[in-house]
Symmetry: C2
């Protein structure tokens, strides 16, 4: 097969993670190894920047800064939640597609990599099919990213291991704190973590438990509706035994009627998902009311997915490898795939990258198998632990300045525009 | 002066910090150097454990674990919020004092060190005066501890630097995250931090700002009542310029009527202080309502004071030095003092320890001087920055196991009881 000569475009999408920039670094560094990939462009703020022809020249960036992306959290190119939505906004979507291919053509983009979660893989898939339809030679590969770990077919997602590592360390530290204050009143702390409808992040904090009585004492995942009485009984039992209790609460936990305990329906993001907040707060109030216990809540929010200072070494390595694998696949002529992580062994942990057709990925949600959780649903079991343990291994060394992390910022030299402003 | 031969008792009190165990290590390690200090006992759960004659033998602990206390957060001996309250409960207080001195006598305690904040220094002072009154030879020295930094006379408190370091790094990381998502809608994140009525912790996050447009963009401290209109105008101005805004909110911020924005009067701790929660949440709702902006909140809660994995090296060193200085002072025959940190230079940072009479410390609150904040009250100025900068310097290396911190746990061998159970 003749090599496809042209330029590369990479963009980031959706919620940032601690390692989405490591995937970007993987793309850029691997691209540098292929002569027929000429220019390396980045789209600012995901597909939105591509539509606006806001491209930056990644070849202009210092090699040291590209390497530094591996420990820099958030999304160095910026992200968006913009969706090319053929079902809800068919005319806008058609115009967007025309515009995208104008931009691709104007800049001779022949390799397109989109780093993101479910919605972003869906966008990548649409672009892949559109290219075929238009007879425009373009290699499209999706690079997985999501702290929520809800992408199917990949063993896990880059971004997940780091959020679990940070949250588990935080739970461990909070438990030392609450345990130290555990005198006769009893002390209960609820830690709310992200993950939306999937409990992977909440369940992941199980790695903080080294001894049977260690925190977390209960983990509430959205996959299992919260039975109020069972929940309160378990909190009471823990307090009676230890005088303190640490509960990890997935933001998307539901009651037995299937309603989100925290849903705030007044705020909806641009994909139409309800903004979640307050599950821990609401459950804390329930405990105070029913058990007469003081409760405290911690809501880690964005802090957990941006915690570059405590990212997982394994996660960084895998994220970079996924970026590099995407470029290799495209360079070999593949298109319409997402890179996935394939695990061959838990201990010692062994993995490699693979490819999965984008057609089978978009908008499928991957939740925790029921038999990876205890019968009462409050504790992930050995199957889950074997799965998650290797993902938090390895430390990161972030350079510091004045005692604080020194993350890199790209220069972001803009590529000269060739098209009229987007209509 | 003849050396006072006898045993040492140390206890920890109040809310734990990342470095209160470093002070404990300082006490134990220094005590080992003085021959006339015979046994080294720890009181479990502060003064409450002393009343219950729950003492542990710290000489039995492994030297390596004592050293490991320097990077282990929370309170290894346990703490309490129990107060010997002569004004509100005079009879109970009198009984408590009798009991304390029975315990001291039974175990020949001649050196007593209480590591804690305002209330704990007050307790130490009462014990000091009571010893004189009773003619019981006892050397009492307070060791300062509080993340809130609200103790007077000491330049700052051990515990403060670490919480500032962790919070500032977190603000920096959250800002990268929110900034990466800053497309046209505008994104605003409010980060609620501790500190009660003092704004030191909130203001401390200013060290995250390396460039003028860096986060935090606004810092709300309890010392300055929040003027709603000025606050909203500043948020809007920031969003108009940057498309995102990061606001740090001290949990104890007040409105112009002097009411706490977050006070939940239904929960009160055992010192009678209202439990604070929800300032950021309430201000976020205000922004959404008035400016039509999406907001997100982060409530770091206990995570911030327990974050041993990102403690300040300077803070650890100072906390240990305060513990050691307390023992040296007592060994030299001093009593009725609190160790303080005395700064002689900001840059290069130079400090030493000193002593301050406990009589002048108890229950005085130390807040940010008005002229350390900008005219609008939203930004700490150079005076504050010069003060806080050195306190976040220095990294800690926490050993890890399975990718997570490996903190030490004491064996806690109990000292044989000699008294009947406390009535």
């Amino acid at each position: 097969m003749p090599e496809l000569v042209g330029n590369l475009l990479v963009a980031q999408s959706g919620g940032p993670t601690a390692v989405i920039n490591a995937s970007l670094a993987g793309v850029i560094q691997e691209a540098g190894r292929h002569e027929f990939i000429e220019e390396i462009f980045g789209g600012l703020n995901g597909i939105l920047g591509v539509l606006n022809e806001e491209l930056i020249d990644l070849n202009d960036e210092k090699a040291k800064n590209i390497e530094g992306l591996k420990y820099t959290p958030a999304a160095a190119l910026g992200t968006c939640r913009y969706k090319i939505d053929f079902s809800k906004k068919p005319e806008q979507a058609a115009r967007d597609m025309d515009r995208l291919f104008e931009v691709f053509q104007a800049h001779n983009i022949r390799y397109f990599f989109y780093i993101g979660g479910n919605d972003s893989q869906d966008t990548a898939n649409k672009i892949h099919h559109e290219a075929i339809k238009r007879g425009y030679e373009l290699k499209v590969i999706g690079v997985p990213k999501t702290i929520d770990n809800d992408l199917p077919h990949t063993d896990h997602c880059p971004g997940f291991g780091s959020v679990v590592k940070y949250n588990a360390a935080t739970v461990m530290e909070i438990a030392l704190d609450v345990g130290a204050m555990a005198t006769d009143d009893g002390a209960c702390c609820l830690v709310e973590v992200m993950g939306r409808a999937a409990g992977w992040i909440a369940a992941g904090t199980i790695v903080a438990k080294r001894q049977p009585m260690d925190a977390p004492h209960l983990i509430l995942v959205p996959e299992i509706p919260v039975n109020e009485e069972a929940f309160l009984a378990k909190v009471k039992e823990t307090i009676d035994t230890l005088k303190y209790c640490v509960v990890v609460v997935g933001e998307g936990v539901k009651n037995e009627k299937g309603e989100e305990i925290a849903a705030d329906k007044s705020q909806v993001d641009s994909f139409g998902h309800a903004v979640l907040s307050g599950a821990a707060e609401n459950l804390g109030k329930l405990i105070t009311k029913r058990l007469g216990l003081k409760t405290r809540t911690v809501k880690l929010g964005y802090a957990q997915r941006a915690a570059g200072h405590y990212a997982s070494g394994v996660d960084i390595q895998e994220a970079a490898a996924c970026g590099a694998a995407a470029v290799r696949a495209a360079a070999e002529g593949q298109s319409g795939f997402m890179v996935k992580i394939v695990r061959s062994s838990d201990s010692p942990y062994r993995w490699t990258t693979g490819l999965h057709p984008l057609d089978e990925i978009a908008n499928v949600e991957h939740v925790i198998p029921r038999d990876w959780l205890s019968a009462d649903g409050f504790t992930p079991n050995e199957k889950f632990i074997d799965y998650v343990k290797p993902l938090v291994e390895g430390e990161v060394r972030v350079p510091s300045e004045g005692g604080l992390p020194k993350y890199v910022t790209l220069d972001k030299n803009m590529v000269e525009k060739k098209l009229p402003v987007r209509s």
